[in-house]
Each structure stands twice: as structure tokens, then as C-alpha cells.
């Protein structure tokens, strides 16, 4: 079960900032699932992951405008 981070109802760039703070406390290979509602986060969270070498494993829609983005933390 990946760690969970609730960023629903937060507007960009807050979901990225919260994700960044949580990932800082995780180790390489750990997984984090981020729940978002701002469609901008579907661009920004993956972009943030790419520039930091983390992997987006999966993104899925949950309905009612909510999405989950699953991240695997990359090696330092």
C-alpha cells in the first residue's frame, strides 16, 4: 500500500509543493499516491517528477473530477 497524500481542492502549484515535501522524507523505491482535483496537477506533478528523476507509475481518474497519481521515488 503506497503512502497517501491528499491534495484535493488545492490549486497548482500547491499539490506540487506538498508532493515535494512528502517525497523529501521517502527513500528510493518508496511509492506515494497523490489525490488531486486541479487538472493542472496532472501536468505539473509528472513534470516535477521528471526533473527530479522520480517515476509516475500510474494516473487514474476517480470520477467527480478527482484523480490519483502514483509516484515511485527515484534514486538520489
Amino acid at each position: 500500500m503506497p503512502e497517501q497524500l491528499d491534495c484535493r481542492h488545492l490549486l497548482c502549484p500547491m499539490p506540487v509543493i506538498r508532493t515535494q515535501a512528502r517525497v523529501a522524507g521517502l527513500a528510493a523505491g518508496d511509492e506515494l499516491e497523490v489525490a488531486v482535483t486541479d487538472p493542472g496537477a496532472l501536468e505539473d506533478v509528472p513534470a516535477w517528477c521528471r526533473v527530479h528523476g522520480h517515476e509516475v507509475v500510474e494516473t487514474h481518474e476517480e470520477g467527480h473530477g478527482a484523480f490519483r497519481i502514483r509516484i515511485r521515488v527515484g534514486g538520489a
Binding site: 481542492h9 497548482c12 502549484p13 509543493i17 493542472g40 513534470a47 521528471r50 528523476g53
Partner: protein, 349 residues
Amino acid sequence: MSDRPKAVALISGGLDSMLAARLVQEQGVHVEGLNLYTGFCVEGHTHAIRKKDQAQPKRNNALWVAERLGIPLHIEEVIEEYKEVLTNPRYGYGANLNPCLDCKVFMVRKALEWLEANGFDFVVTGEVLGQRPKSQTRDKLPLLERDSGAEGRLLRPLSAQLLEPTLPERAGWVARERLHAFHGRSRKPQMQLAQELGLETWAQPAGGCCFLTDAHYAARLSDLWQARGSKNYDLDDVMLLKVGRHLRPLAHLKLIIAREAGETHFLQGYRRRYPHLRTTSHGGPVALLDGTWSEPELELAARLVARYSAGRNAERVDLELEDTEGGVQALSVPPMAPEAVPAEWYIGG
């Protein structure tokens, strides 16, 4: 220093900071980006709200720039700390509520804090001498250096040749002759350099990324401060000032009325913080009520909201007032005639 020198570049998402970072990167320096989120940044959330803007790319320009440069970008939220900069600027405001010089001092200081916490060597910014009348003149740049405590650790690659040599130049980490002497408001040298560096397409032009330089926004923020009797604000206030029509029919009551479906959806997210009016007999906007009111004043507010509903020409429009606990009060009012709404009620256009 055993390893490569390390620089932290302040990345706004605009062209100048991208070019500045690339110039230093090209000289073999390890560069990472820092983007500071004050709450007043134009991009990000704003385009997610209005339906008409949803065709625009929903991307964070600073992240986009970092990806083009191939550098990590750290985004730091500075909303609380920024209040002091905005409410009490040592060097005052620009044309609107933009405390540009204080803001730059603050950002360089934050970059220096980051630098020290992460063992980096110097800060890079995209400032261009003479580009901004208020904050980038020849007498202001040294002042920024002094107030931020940079002590030579602040490199502006686009104008470096016109300025005193900095630590990275003196230490030989970067060659001064490979930096530039850009000056003034023309954007041509930057565009040419972008082409030379293979960075022709960029996210946004310089400036224009801060709501505080916007006259309408500044008017709304001034109104908020005046109504509260203090210059306090939080992130929700900052967001709400960007959305909807703002009308103040009474000194102690402001209405935020959605202009379209996207804004209605957004304002509904605040229904547990503000009481709101919504039309029930006709299609219409959601309106948040910020302040206090008597029964006749509530009727006035309801007539105003009805004026923006599909029932604007009807004899009466039914509405509901929902308080922050979910309690509902029904109203039925004649819509106000458009010409009966005094122009001075509109805050910031």
C-alpha cells in the same frame, strides 16, 4: 572546492531567468532551480478556474523551463513570509501594489538561505540592467545585493559585464567574457541569445507573471484591506480576488459573483467559509457574501445576484441563502435593473 561549483538559479518561468541559468550551466556549473510561490503568481491555478481559459496549456512555466534546461526545480511556498514584503515594503510600491524592489531582495535572500542549507556556492538571476524602471536600475542593483546579504554571491549573467565582478567570476568558476552586457528594455538581445542557445520557444515574456502589477487586482486588494481595517490576508483571500465580479454595495458587505460555470464551481468550494446566495427559480451564478447584513440589506444583495441570473428580466427571482453550516433561507426578489447598479459598487472593474 573539490567538485564542480554549484549555483541556484531563481526561475520564474520567463525567458530571462531561463537564459541566465543556461549561460551558467554552459560553463560547467551544476545548476538547480528555485521557484518561490507567493500566491500572487498569475499562472497555475488561475487557468484552471475559468472555462474560457481551459484551452490554454495547464502547465507550470517554471517546471517547463526546468525541464528544457534539464535541471531539478525546487518550488517553495512563501505565502506567509511574503506578507511582510507586501504589507510593509521598505522601498514602497510601483504603479499598483507591486513592491518590486523589496520582492527582489526577499527572493535573493530566500535563494541565499537555500544555498546555505544545500551547500551551493552562488545565486543566479535573470535580471537585466535598466529593464525595469523601478527595480533594475544601476543604483538599485547594488542595493539589492547589500540588503539581501549576497556579498558577491549574486551573478546576473545577462548584464554581468556591466557590473562589478562577482565571486564566481573572481574565483574563475565562470568566465566573465562568456557572460553578457544586456541593458535596457529591448527584448531583442534576449531573443537572439535564445536562438543561439536553442531555446527559441519559451513559456512567457518577462514580467506579467504577478497579479500585484495588475490595476484591477490591486484595487480589489486595497478594498479588502480597507474593509478589514488591516493589511492582513490569507491564501484563500488571494485566490478569491482573482475570481468573479466583486461588488461592494455597502461598506460592510461585499459580494463575489461568479461570471460563468467554472467560477461557480470554484466559489462553491468556499461555501463552508462564506454564506452564499444562489438562484433557484432560474439559472444563475453563485455569489459569496463577505461581511454582515440586515434583512433589507440581504434583499438588496439578492436583487443584485438576480440581476446576473437568467431571470434578470423576470418579475421575481427566487433565491436561497445558505449559511456556512448549511442552513437555508428562501428569498424572492425583483431583479435589480442593470442601470440601477452604481458603477462605484464594482471593485477593480
